[in-house]
Amino acid sequence: MTELLALTLALPLLAGALFIVATASTRAALFGFFAFGLFLALAWVALDAVDVALTEAAIGGGATGLLLLRLNGRMRHPVSLGEPAGPRLKIAAGLLAALVTLALGALLLALPEPAPSLAAATVEPLPALGIGNPVTAVLIAYRALDTLLEIVVLLIAVVGLRALGTDRGWGGRPVPWPEGEPSPALVFLARLLIPAGLVFAVYLFWVGADAPGGKFQASTLVAALWLLAIMAGLAPAPCSGGRWTGRALAIGPLAFIVAGTIGIAAAGSFLAWPEPVAKPMIIAVELALAVSIVVALVLLVAGPPERETGR
């Protein structure tokens, strides 16, 4: 039964990937990408990786798709990336991709049975952290350094985006989303979804300690709601040079580094959580991280600043 379900889910994935590559219209490819992300998320659910599924649906399909859609809307004239690839290059690229797929498949078949697992070792110290979801524990405790570096990468991306803006727009806001009146249907949808979505985001954030969910998914949801409000003309896009934007972007990494340094003094190493206050410290750091992620994602999707502050 599980195999059958997995196969049924694998088919639309293959078909979707082919459609995205083969379709002539960029817009059709983009909508194909959204559907592809949704099916990928379903496939992760079928594999019992609900945390990954949520992240895929929120960031992989949703936020990235929106980013591409925004980009497509902004590019009125198609940009040529040089000569289109010739048949030889296409065949070579296809062969390389097939080789990688075959190698991955062969590796998968060669895995020892039962597969080596650190699951038991991961679950054992969870009570000390006050966390019930092993995925969250990996993100915030065992591999906290990776999470810290991820948020720093997000910051660097925002800096790079700001550098892409025009001189005149330096420190200003991105180009407004709808050119003209937003559709009344969109305004209605935004008014309906934003309060419901905020409640759900708080739930996702909190439940991440014990069940699939967490700060990344919750922050992406809040960012998506903010973007919805921007698109519906209900909220302004963040001012990239604004005082609050900078502070919001900095607070996450700063809180993480401060907590890590406290870890050196109290627990003996950087990013170690001192046991009696592990849970409250983790929540504080995650809250700070969530603020930074929301602002970074909104800035990234909204695009580089191009008009002057206050217009």
Partner: protein, 95 residues
Amino acid sequence: MIADLLTIVLVSAGAVFFLAGTVGLLRFPDPLSRLHALTKADSLGLGLIALGLVPQAGSVWMALKLLLVWLLVLAGSTAAGQMLARLHRAEAADD
């Protein structure tokens, strides 16, 4: 027993709507009628399926969550349908 029967009838009816909507999406001649077929499948088909799953939900909260999912999708797909139709009209006016 009656609950299971209700589920089978409602979910099947929902599936029929999805099937009809998909056939309409593939066969109808112009974007507006295709959109019409699609939004009917979305709202009514999903509504029937959600309603059909309510007897299987096990708790009132779960049943309410199912209905909430339906309501949210209803709002989302209706708004998306409106916006796509608007876009189609704007593009048709440009030509």
